[in-house]
Amino acid sequence: MRFTLNIWRQNGPTESGRFVSYEADDVSQGMSFLEMLDGVNQKLLVAGEEPVAFEYDCREGICGSCSLVIDGIPHGPDQGITTCQLYMRRFPDGANITIEPWRAKAFPIVKDLVVDRSALDRVMQAGGYVSVNTGGAVDGNALLIGKDQAETAMDAASCIGCGACVAACKNASAMLFVAAKVSHLALLPQGKPERTGRVTAMIEAMDREGFGSCGNQYECEAVCPKRISVRFIATLNREYRRAGIVESALPNASESPHAESV
C-alpha cells in the first residue's frame, strides 16, 4: 500500500509550524500506524533529513503516550483504540492522510507531533494523596466493596491519561479526564477521606492550566480509547456540588503538593 501523508512539522515550542507532504510506500496492511511512520522516518534519516517526532512507548494501547489527530479525529477513525493499535488496512490504498498534534493551550507543542501533557500530571498532583494506614498488612477481604461499585470504579480507573478527550473537545476541556480520576477514587472507600478536598483542588487546577469548560457534546467519549463514559462527568459535577456544600473550609489555594520545595 502507499499513502500521501500531510504531517505537521514544527521545530520547537516557539517556532511556527506548517504541513509537509510525505510519501509512504511499501506499507503492508498489517503495519500499525506508528510502524508506518517509522518507515517514513527511516527514509528521512537515510536522506539526511530530520525525522518526524512523535510520541509512543508501549505500542499496545496501555500507556497513553501515542497521540495523533488523524484526519481530524484523535487516535484515528476507529473507536476504542489508541493510535498504536490502529492498522493501515483500515485506510484505502493511496489515501491522503493528515496528521496533526493534539491542539490545546494547555498542551504546548514540543516538536512536530509531540505535545507536553504535563498539565494533566499537575491536575493529578493537585488531587493529592490517598490516606493509607501503615503497619501490619490488612486482610485482603476485610474491606467489602460491592461488585457493581468496584466495576464502575474500574471503568473510570481505566483512563490512561492520553489526552484525546482534550484533543477532541471543541473547548479543549479536560473534563472527562478529571471526571475519570475523581470518580474512581470517590467511588471507593480508599478515596473517601480526601474525597471532598480532592474534587475542588482538581477542578481548580484544571482551570489554572487553561483547559476550557464542558459543553456536553460528548466528543471526548467518542474518541476515548478506553471508552470512558460521560456519565462520570455527571458524577464529577455532583462531587463538586457536594464539596461546595460539605466542605467546612476550603484550603486557601489548591497548590501543587510540591509547592513548598519551589
Binding site: T200, N216, E219, R238
Partner: protein, 225 residues
C-alpha cells in the same frame, strides 16, 4: 461568601449557574407559550388574561426584574465561558471531524445570539410598541386593553411573521441541546433515566416552538382572526 464566590467562579461552577439561569428562562418560555395559547379561546380569554397579569403590578415587575436579572447572568456567563473556551485552543485544527456532537450543540453561541436579538425585537415590538407597523391601540368590549387585536394585527404582516418564526427556529436549536445539557451539568444521570434526560432537550424545544409557531401561523393563515 468568598467560599460561594469561589465555588461558582470555577468552570464547573460557572456552568452550573449557566444551566440554572438557562432552566429558569426555559420555565418562563414554557409559561409564556401556555399563556399565549389562550389566543385560541378568543379575544375575551386572552385580554382578560393580559389584564389579570397587569392587575398585579408588584408581581409583574418582580417577575420582569427577576427575568432580566436571570437573562443578564445567562448571557454574561455564556460570553465569559465562550471566550475562555476560545482561548483554550489558540490554534485550530486543519481538519476537525465531529462524531457525536449535534448541529444544535455546535451552534449554541449563534442560536443564543439569534434568541437575544429576537427577545430585544419582541420587547420593542409587542411589549413597548416602539418598532413595527403601529397597531390600533384599542379597548375591547369589556374595557380591557385589546391584546388580542394587537396579535392579529401583528401576525397578519408577513415580515413580522418571518422575524418571529426565525426567532423560534433559533430558540428550537438552542433548547434542543440546552435542556439535556443543563441536566448533565447539574449532575443528573442514571441508567434508568438517561433516555429520558437525553430526550428532554428535543422534546422541550419541539413543545415550545410548536406552541409558539401555531399561534403565529394561525393568525397569519386567518384561522384565528
Amino acid at each position: 461568601m468568598t467560599r460561594l464566590l469561589r465555588h461558582f467562579q470555577s468552570s464547573v461552577g460557572s456552568k452550573v449557574l449557566l444551566a440554572l439561569s438557562g432552566l429558569g428562562l426555559v420555565g418562563y418560555v414554557i409559561f409564556h407559550m401556555l399563556g399565549n395559547l389562550q389566543v385560541f379561546e378568543g379575544s375575551r380569554a386572552l385580554n382578560s388574561y393580559a389584564a389579570f397579569l397587569r392587575d398585579m403590578p408588584i408581581v409583574l415587575w418582580t417577575a420582569r426584574i427577576g427575568l432580566l436579572g436571570i437573562a443578564v447572568i445567562h448571557v454574561a456567563l455564556a460570553i465569559h465561558l465562550s471566550l475562555q473556551n476560545r482561548r483554550a485552543r489558540p490554534r485550530a485544527y486543519a481538519i476537525h471531524r465531529y462524531r457525536y456532537a449535534s448541529i444544535a450543540s455546535r451552534t449554541m453561541a449563534a442560536s443564543g445570539l439569534v434568541v437575544l436579538l429576537f427577545i430585544v425585537f419582541h420587547l420593542l415590538h409587542l411589549t413597548a410598541g416602539i418598532v413595527g407597523p403601529s397597531p390600533p391601540d384599542r379597548i375591547d368590549a369589556d374595557g380591557y386593553r385589546d391584546v388580542y387585536g394587537l396579535l392579529i394585527h401583528a401576525f397578519q404582516n408577513p415580515v413580522i411573521v418571518l422575524i418571529y418564526v426565525a426567532g423560534q427556529v433559533g430558540l428550537a436549536f438552542h433548547l434542543h441541546h440546552a435542556v439535556s445539557s443543563s441536566l448533565q451539568t447539574l449532575g443528573f444521570e442514571h441508567a434508568a433515566l438517561n433516555g429520558l434526560l437525553k430526550a428532554a432537550g428535543p422534546s422541550v424545544a419541539l413543545l415550545v416552538v410548536l406552541g409558539n409557531v401555531a399561534i403565529i401561523l394561525a393568525v397569519f393563515l386567518r384561522i384565528v382572526r
